[in-house]
Amino acid sequence: MTLLQWTFDIVLGLTLLWLAFRALTSEDLFKGIVLFIAFGLLMALAWVRLNAPDIALAEAAIGAGLTGALLLAALAKLESATTETSATVKDENAEGLNSKSSEAQSHD
């Protein structure tokens, strides 16, 4: 194995570890998903380096592509669900809040 290949493999391995760490610790879910997709694509590259093109194909198509799409769809549903519930809560509280704010304004 040449020096170039060694360097490539080491950089690839470290990048994978770093991406996995960032994806797991990311506060922002969307950012975490994008990092996960990047992780999947680089993982496919690692499988190619390990002479396993079959797994590389499956990893790129299923691991990065479809799982990423599924996670993004789940996130969209999660967000729409939370905004819906918070909207209904707001609707219920709207009258009370309005009266309070008008009271506050009148006090001013």
Partner: protein, 237 residues
């Protein structure tokens, strides 16, 4: 307060202890591995002629360890059932994409189908196969769903469900047929092994593609008979 902090520290210590045990165990098992493991690749190469395909990975996945692949497809179907059990689809709207997206998807989707067919066919003697082809097919489906297309109502009923189980049914049928013909279950006789594997993989590709796309769609589409009933209360918005 101090009790609470003590508990936390204790928990962390326990975690560190367990993790170190795991690390030591993993390190020991890695170090105790033989440096030159022959694995099973020699045996696979020896028996490759009996499998009906010339690519060792496909030979293992669909002939030597066909049972694993069969169960994998059942697991995929179970995953979809799990998603479907979460609830019904309550909205069924179609939206028109922009001109660029429309043209691009019209160009890309036939290409996706072509690539899926190629991956399926090449699987017999090079990297490729049912799962890869199926996921490319599913990517085409996801792209179509993202551009606003929705499958017609008649397909969402029984035809969809038949397509979903088609791969598994083809696999089980092939397994039982060879058993009835006098061989063991999932033992493909050499004369028909190549054809059987291609047939199973073609059915599996279709089913995997539709299953993954249905997973992306999320909730359970209504059946044909129930459509009339469900559009009433379902179409709240």
């Amino acid at each position: 307060m101090t009790k609470h902090i003590n508990k936390q520290i204790l928990f962390r210590l326990l975690l560190v202890l367990l993790l170190s045990v795991l690390a030591v165990g993993l390190g020991y098992s890695v170090l105790s591995l033989p440096l030159e493991a022959s694995g099973l690749s020699a045996r696979v190469t020896e028996n490759l002629d009996a499998s009906g395909v010339s690519h060792p990975v496909t030979a293992v996945l669909l002939n030597f360890r066909a049972y694993d692949t069969l169960l994998e497809m059942a697991v995929l179907l179970l995953a979809l059932l799990g998603v479907w059990s979460l609830g019904d689809m309550h909205e069924h709207r179609e939206s028109a994409p922009g001109v660029v997206l429309d043209m691009l998807s019209r160009l890309l989707i036939p290409l996706f189908v072509l690539v899926a067919g190629y991956l399926l066919w090449i699987g017999a003697n090079a990297p490729g196969g049912a799962f890869q082809a199926g996921s490319v097919l599913a990517a085409a489906g996801v792209l179509m769903l993202l551009t606003g297309w929705r499958p017609s109502v008649w397909f969402m009923g029984l035809p969809l469900r038949i397509t979903l189980v088609f791969g598994l049914v083809a696999f089980v049928t092939a397994a039982v047929m060879v058993q009835l013909a006098g061989w063991r279950m999932l033992e493909f006789p050499l004369s028909v092994a190549g054809a059987l594997i291609l047939l199973i993989e073609a059915a599996a590709t279709l089913s995997i593609g539709i299953t993954l796309a249905a997973l992306f769609l999320g909730s359970r589409p209504p059946t044909d008979q129930a459509t009339g009933k469900r559009t009433g209360p379902g179409a709240k918005k």
